[in-house]
Amino acid sequence: MAVKLFIDAIRDALVYEMRQDDSVFVLGEDVGLRGGVFRVTQGMIDEFGASRVIDMPLAESAIVGVAIGAAAYGLKPVAEIQFADFIMPAVNQIISEAAKMRYRSNGDWSCPLVIRAPFGGGVHGALYHSQSVEALFYHIPGLKVVVPSTAADAKGLLIAALRDPDPVLYFEHKGLYRLIKDEVPDGEHVVPIGKAAVRREGTDITVITYGLMVHYVLEAAEELAHAGISTHVLDLRSLLPLDRDAIIEAARRTGKVLIVHEDNKTGGVGAEVSAMIAEEALYDLDAPIARLCGPDIPAMPFSPTMEKFYMLNPAKIADAMRTLAAF
């Protein structure tokens, strides 16, 4: 057990698994000598060589499409999309192909593929280096979608993804790379896909969230605790499948639910979480189900004023929490 940066935990998982399973390999733009633009794969080409750390031509549909072929063959490719915003050219391969290979072949073929993509804003990334894209995929049966918020989960969820027999999208918030560090178990460490985690126990209000926002929510919860408001915080971790039981249980716990995400509101993951609760726990609610999300604008602007306006922060979240608590 050692305290590690979020970004190092991701690399740890890749290296750990590549050492013991020679079917695992990574492919993406600049993943080789450059070690990825964020340095996630730094040094890996030295250990595993250019045939297992493959610099791909600048073509995302091929990155995913080639990975699908290799996965169908029986290898375990980890395709890196340089920024989640650039996953769009690969949507056809992901949704029409990866998600449907097992189904359409009646279980004869499969596609054990992992796609890693850094997402999220607040990093001066402007419109096309800040987006949250999870809502495009959590609607697609056949895929799994995970979003770690701690270094330990970054490792454990990635190892789980690497061992999953089906395609997993692994979205890593780039704001967490060097912001967050926590205890990461050495060696074997698997966090099962599909299980949410309670990050804080509380009795007055429930906040459900994921990604970078987990940390902002916890900060806000700490602040509210001083004012005597007790917050229950659920980190979804897995967006597809959502952990229905954990969501319902968390909602019931306090009867007051706020869902927080960085992605814009309409049709975001919060919509499904809210709908689940409205379907199954309506009579346990003491307040309307609230959502606090990014504004419904095409993407996050570059200039600091407007970027700050877009991004949630602990203060904005604390406000929404206080309003809910006072309801």
């Binding site: 073509a59 549909s61 499409g65 699908i68 072929g69 189904y103 359409r104």
Partner: protein, 333 residues
């Protein structure tokens, strides 16, 4: 046909048995196709997509592959290829009738959406050209596993305009992967003729932009396709990289059972193409060489008819999947 060309197949290393096997595969593909078309017109099959006119090219190519070694990612017209890779008439009819036992999809997909692991046929979908990077990925994986083999993928000339074709060819070119890109240029993409579909003259011209050879072959010349394919296979196995083989062929039927081709092409054009059909010309060649005797031909046709009858009867009575089976195989169980 002159005595000189009469031994052409032997000169390129094909035995009489092999060419007869090729011919039989073409005839079987044609017979299945025609039967399915009839069944569609009789209201028994909701949808059919046809290989008619392209069997010769498909079989010429497929016989240069090794069904016990190579992998194929075929497109929807490649009935000739999948028969060569071990799908049976029964398999094909089970798929046509969308029955539970259909090895491609258990009746989930339309006919023409091939795929079965035991036959080394990758599962395919409807969006065109998505299979092209898959074949490249399989070749990459095979090389990583030190398996000496070739992967094959096919597509129409229209589909060579999709970005996936370009991206996949380029990566295969960079990595010199053992892939055969087979473009079945039948001059139409549904209703859109070649000249409105592609800016170039020949699809094979695109290969240069990816750094590997591209050749254009008369798709009705079964032996020429075989030779080109064998050259490409050897090149691939020798680690020299991919080849793009374009065949000039013709789709004799409408695009699918839902299409009406009369609005976009003349009957004369279609009739003219029927004369050049490889089933006709290759048959004539085999007869002229004495390889295909009248007896053998009759036996072959009888046998194929019987196989198709049996397959149809079997498939027609076979059960559908249970409704709730629709819920299975979303994820590994």
């Amino acid at each position: 046909m002159s005595k000189q060309t009469a031994v052409r197949h032997r000169e390129i290393g094909l035995s009489d048995e092999q060419v007869l096997d090729m011919y039989r595969t073409m005839i079987l593909a044609r017979a299945l196709d025609e039967r399915m078309w009839l069944l569609n017109r009789a209201g028994k099959l909701p949808f059919v997509v046809s290989c008619k006119g392209q069997e010769g090219a498909q079989v010429g190519l497929a016989f240069a592959l090794d069904p016990t070694r190579d992998y194929v990612a075929p497109y929807y017209r490649d009935l000739g290829v999948v028969l060569r890779f071990g799908q049976t008439a029964r398999d094909v009819m089970l798929s046509g009738f969308a029955k539970r036992e259909d090895p491609n999809s258990g009746g989930r997909q339309m006919p023409g959406h091939f795929g079965s692991r035991k036959n080394r046929i990758l599962t395919g979908s409807s969006p065109v050209s998505t299979q092209i990077p898959h074949a490249v990925g399989m070749a990459l994986a095979a090389r990583m596993r030190n398996e000496r083999l070739v992967t094959y993928t096919s597509f129409g000339e229209g589909s060579s305009n999709q970005g996936d074709f370009h991206e996949a060819c380029n990566f295969a070119g960079v990595q010199k992967l053992p892939v055969i890109f087979f473009c079945e240029n039948n001059l139409y993409a549904i209703s859109v003729p070649l000249a409105r579909q592609v800016g170039c003259e020949r699809i094979a011209q695109r290969a240069e932009g990816y750094g590997f050879p591209g050749v254009t072959i008369d798709g009705n010349d079964v032996l020429a396709v075989y030779e080109a394919a064998r050259t490409a296979v050897n090149r691939a196995l020798d680690g020299l990289g991919p080849t793009l083989i374009e065949v000039l062929t013709y789709r004799i039927n409408p695009h699918s059972s839902d299409d009406d081709d009369r609005v976009y092409r003349s009957r004369e054009e279609v009739d003219e193409a029927k004369q050049r059909d490889a089933i006709v010309t290759f048959g004539a060649y085999l007869r002229s060489t004495g390889v295909l005797t009248a007896d053998k031909e009759q036996a072959l046709l009888r046998d194929v008819e019987q196989v198709v009858d049996e397959a149809t009867a079997y498939a027609e009575q076979a059960p559908y999947a249970e409704p709730q089976e629709a819920l299975g195989h979303v994820y590994a169980q």
